[in-house]
């Protein structure tokens, strides 16, 4: 089943065209990697899909689970089952992590027409998911991402993803700022969520992350377009040769 279908997507940021005709289809159960150098449009693609203000779609369409994704507000996209793990998670002083998780989960469940979780069930779920990610309960009382290390921030993203149980998770440069141990933990969290009904779009510059989150399909994105699509071997090829072939720069 096609979960996400992107057709001829063009988008501008601050009047500059960054995405210049993206075509991409992701089926349920698949893990797609989108690889590209800096400035290729990787993060723009993830923000456009999540609905960030300031990222203007000028052409094309995106169908997600049969819905016109681009007509939905960011919160409706989340409720429909889209999740973006941020490259730079935002700090929100004064809002505790647990309040944030509870508010998000009940908002999403409400929009999905599901019953709100009883406080006991919520705490149980939170505890279970935190244990899987090796997180300290102390973090729940702190402001969202405030004073978190790079690793803690990414674990927090993985925790939110586990709690919200999306249909499609977009991981935007999840490996940036992580040491190898933190990377393994976060990747473990992602892999625990892999299932035939769920898909992943893993956006990364480096092959390293893909050693831990094994993709089914790899796309190369440069100059705002998908230049090549292949199997996992394409990632290894890029690791050896770099992006020069696709960027037009001499290696």
């Amino acid at each position: 089943m096609t979960m996400l279908k992107i057709e001829n997507l063009h988008a501008e940021v601050g009047g500059r065209e960054v995405l210049k005709g993206i075509n991409l289809a992701v089926n349920a159960g698949e893990v797609h990697a989108v690889m590209g150098p800096n400035g290729s449009g990787k993060s723009t693609l993830s923000y456009v899909l999540a609905g960030r203000p300031g990222y203007e779609v000028t052409k094309g369409k995106v169908i997600f689970l049969g819905k016109d994704l681009l007509s939905l507000s960011p919160e409706e996209r989340a409720a429909t089952g889209l999740f973006l793990a941020f490259q730079y998670p935002v700090e929100i002083p004064g809002v505790s992590t647990t309040t944030f998780l509870k508010t998000a989960l009940s908002a999403v469940r409400k929009q999905r027409g599901e019953k709100e979780l009883a406080p006991v069930e919520f705490l149980k779920l939170q505890k279970e998911k935190m244990a899987q990610l090796g997180m300290d309960a102390d973090m729940l009382k702190r402001g969202v991402n405030v004073g978190f290390s790079g690793g803690e921030k990414k674990r927090n993203e993985a925790l939110q993803m586990a709690m919200l149980a999306p249909k499609l998770a977009i991981l935007d440069e999840t490996d940036s700022g992580l040491d190898i141990d933190a990377l393994k933990v976060v990747a473990g969290g992602v892999n625990a969520l892999r299932d035939k009904d769920r898909a992943f779009l893993v956006i990364t510059h480096y092959q390293r992350l893909l050693d831990y989150i094994k993709p089914d399909i790899v796309h190369v994105l440069t100059h705002g377009k998908i230049q090549k699509t292949g199997g996992p071997e394409l990632a290894l090829e890029l690791e050896n040769k770099g992006y020069a072939e696709f960027t037009g720069d001499a290696a």
Partner: protein, 434 residues
């Protein structure tokens, strides 16, 4: 010739405000009360209301006040008893003032606390005169002068030496407006805490319709006494509220004041905190939530006379629509007031393009061994944080509320009494519309 013209203009401007004060002449009163009224009326007739050219009045314009003629009434006010709001806390004692008039039949007093009307106290309590006298220069404070001219209504609250009152006291000012004859209310209140005593007060201002309330509050804290003073200003949307609080603190006393301001059309809450001895702690903080055309002004002076004092002024405001806020805060540290620790912080969150916040933060320091800081800033909601919350499924309005609440929590942290914090949180949530 020129002089007499000016004089005439001043008379025309001040006369309506003082006219009703003559009615008080027919009432029995102590000579010193009569003298204070006279001094107040005289001072006011010389200045009239402040204009934008006055120091401290550049940003708060009085048009909502001056375009209505308000009437002072000395007779007991008629009101609908069912309209009184229910108590804030179920375990608190409550005293009620309606249109500034103390209503003993609606009031209950915690054990150890003496409450009486201002006029009763003026003849019954020994040494009350020096506690009821208007502090400061009337020539620069017309609202103080006006209140003095009408000295009659209000209440006196006294805690005896050594009495540690655990039951909170709610002091409700309920104001009933009148469409035909908008009332002018001029109550004067005194909180007088004896040595080593303690009290927790919720002072709440609420009402219906149009009225002008101009309150003078004296707070007198004797040595080592402790007052927690939680104000809730939720006046009617058409009301003008002016309050002048003069706090006089003796050695090792502590004052924890917090003010929630969300009501009224035009409001100015002015504090003059006089830390006249050493080792005093004084916290005057608050939150303000404004919308529509509201204008609110916090003007706070904290004056350190002696060493080892600690003072805080911590305010956070949220301003929507075309509302305007003014914050004028000053920490004054006199030459001998060494080891003073003074902190002032004011942040305003502007929710609309037409909302406005003005700040005048000041430190005036003459001692050389002090720690003082100030900061003031206004800004908008953090769009990145908003998107982050929305991307987790939280609807935009709820996400905004969450961010606003968390912003205000910064100031609410100054409130040490949990039930007070809950009262404020509930009101903030209500203001945010859920």
């Amino acid at each position: 010739m020129k002089f007499s013209l000016q004089q005439q203009a001043a008379d025309e401007a001040t006369l309506p405000w003082l006219e009703d004060a003559q009615k008080l002449g027919e009432q029995p009163a102590a000579d010193w009360v009569k003298a204070m009224r006279h001094t107040g009326a005289e001072a006011f007739s010389r200045t009239g209301l402040p204009t934008p050219s006055w120091e401290g009045w550049q940003h708060t314009h009085l048009r909502p006040l001056t375009q209505t003629r308000f009437h002072y009434k000395v007779e007991p006010v008629k009101f609908d008893i069912n309209a009184l709001p229910s108590s804030l806390l179920k375990d608190a004692a409550r005293i009620v003032l309606v249109n500034g008039q103390y209503k003993p039949e609606l009031s209950a007093t915690p054990e150890g606390v003496i409450v009486m009307s201002l006029m009763d106290a003026s003849v019954q309590v020994e040494g009350i005169e020096e506690h009821l006298v208007t502090v400061g220069d009337l020539a620069t404070a017309p609202f103080k002068a006006l209140n003095a001219a009408y000295m009659h209504d209000g209440a006196v609250i006294i805690v005896k030496d050594g009495a540690d009152i655990t039951q909170p006291l709610e002091v409700l000012f309920y104001n009933a407006g009148d469409a035909d004859k908008a009332p002018s209310l001029q109550p004067r209140c005194l909180y007088w805490l004896g040595k080593n005593s303690g009290l927790t007060v919720f002072e709440r201002h609420a009402g219906v319709g149009a009225y002008f309330t101009n309150i003078y509050t004296g707070i007198f804290l004797e040595s080592a006494s402790r007052l927690k003073f939680y104000k809730i200003e939720e006046e009617s949307a058409a009301a003008c509220h002016f309050s002048y609080t003069v706090l006089q603190q003796q050695k090792h006393s502590s004052f924890e004041g917090f003010s929630y301001a969300a009501g009224g059309r035009l409001v100015r809450q002015e504090y003059q905190n006089l830390l006249i001895d050493s080792g005093i702690s004084c916290n005057v903080s608050g939150v303000y939530l404004l919308k529509d055309q509201q204008c609110h002004d916090f003007t706070v002076l904290t004056d350190h006379f002696e060493p080892d004092g600690t003072s805080v002024q911590h305010f956070k405001g949220v301003i929507d629509d075309q509302a305007r806020s003014v914050f004028q805060g000053k920490i004054h540290v006199r030459r001998v007031a060494q080891k003073t620790n003074g902190n002032q912080l004011n942040h305003a969150l502007l929710l609309s393009e037409k909302a406005e916040a003005s700040f005048k933060p000041e430190l005036e320091i003459y001692a050389d061994d002090v720690k003082c800081s100030h900061g003031a800033a206004s800004g908008q909601l953090d769009q990145d944080a908003l998107f982050y919350l929305q991307s987790r499924g939280i609807p935009a309005t709820e996400a905004k509320s969450l961010l606003i609440e968390s912003f205000l929590n910064g100031a609410l942290a100054e409130v040490s009494f949990a039930p007070a914090r809950e009262v404020y949180e509930e009101r903030i949530r209500e203001w945010l519309g859920h």
